[in-house]
């Protein structure tokens, strides 16, 4: 181990010891924000407290997160036009058959997770993650041969999440409330609209993150 590495190791061990000591000696105080959040869940339109916090109380953070997803794709497309993944036909038929059986089930599972997120653990990000995994399998099994019409559809699909979220945010401003303060009667409707758009957008974004560029046609 060289001297430089030893020095860095010493500094990091000191940092970890100091922080761990603080945690061990100071019992964390129960935050009052938790009580405030859990007490206001019935007025948020959903029953799951995490979804209520994510999409209603801290909706602005989620808006920025969907924007970060969008920006990641913009960044990747601006620097690496061509796809990183070589769409190669897999050697075994097992992968292709398995993926063909699994894809409809994954679509159902993604929709179910998204719909369930209002009252039970789940939500838009979990459903979108399952859709993203479906897209990755689809690409890896070389079953995805996007025709030109689908590639025209790709950009609207990617921007659907951020567009829907921004539209709802501006709508709440025009109706006279603060930014992203939903009227309690329509809160659930607005949350479902945002989550539905976000599921599709997150799935498409995660698949394109995996492809690493613009999707190509299948190469034989």
């Amino acid at each position: 181990m060289t001297a430089g590495r030893g020095f860095v190791l010493l500094l990091i061990v000191l940092l970890v010891l100091v922080l761990a000591g603080i945690i061990a000696l100071v019992t964390p105080d129960k935050a009052r924000l938790a009580d405030l959040a859990i007490a206001n869940v019935p007025q948020s339109g959903v029953l799951n407290p995490v979804t209520a916090v994510l999409l209603n109380f801290r909706g602005y953070d989620t808006l920025l997160e969907v924007a970060v997803l969008f920006l990641a794709i913009v960044g990747i497309w601006s620097m690496a036009r061509h796809a990183r993944v070589w769409i190669k036909i897999p050697d075994t038929p097992v992968l292709v058959v398995f993926v063909r059986l699994l894809l409809p089930l994954m679509v159902i599972a993604a929709g179910y997770l998204f719909w369930l997120g209002a009252d039970f653990p789940g939500g838009a990000f979990q459903g979108g993650a399952v859709l993203g995994g479906m897209g990755v399998l689809w690409v890896a099994a070389a079953l995805w041969q996007p025709p030109a019409s689908f590639r025209r559809l790709l950009r609207p699909l990617l921007s659907l999440g951020i567009l829907a979220f921004t539209t709802v945010a501006l709508l709440t401003l025009f109706m006279g409330y603060n930014l992203l303060q939903y009227p309690p009667a329509q809160a659930k409707t607005l949350i479902i609209i945002i989550e539905g758009a976000a599921v599709l957008s997150i799935g498409a974004t995660l698949t394109l993150l995996f492809i690493g560029g613009f999707p190509k046609k299948r190469e034989d």
Partner: protein, 101 residues
């Protein structure tokens, strides 16, 4: 009640030690392919830790996105870098080496 607390403490200890060992192995093993595979396993163990800490939404997001998709991204990039390095260092290299997807 006393024996239940001990079993949960044992689970905590085993889980945390396995997590730390997996993370250390993933960061220091010389073979990057092994490192990414152990990182995927690390991600799933972290999802287990989220379930233990009563965070099921976080567990679902971590298992799908944090472990699975990040692992797929890392493997795809590893394969692309190795392929491009082969192409650069050897003029006669063919595109499909052992790690091609």
């Amino acid at each position: 009640m006393g024996i239940t607390m001990t079993i949960i403490d044992l689970l905590d200890l085993v889980l945390i030690i396995t997590l730390l060992v997996c993370a250390w192995y993933a960061l220091t093993t010389p073979d990057l392919f092994n490192a990414v595979i152990i990182f995927i396993a690390f991600g799933l163990l972290v999802a287990l830790a989220w379930v233990r800490l009563q965070a099921p939404d976080v567990a679902m997001a971590e298992a799908a996105v944090g472990s699975g998709l990040t692992g797929a991204l890392l493997l795809s990039s590893l394969s692309a870098i190795r392929r491009l390095q082969l192409k650069q260092t050897d003029q006669h290299a063919s595109p499909d080496d052992a790690t091609a997807k």
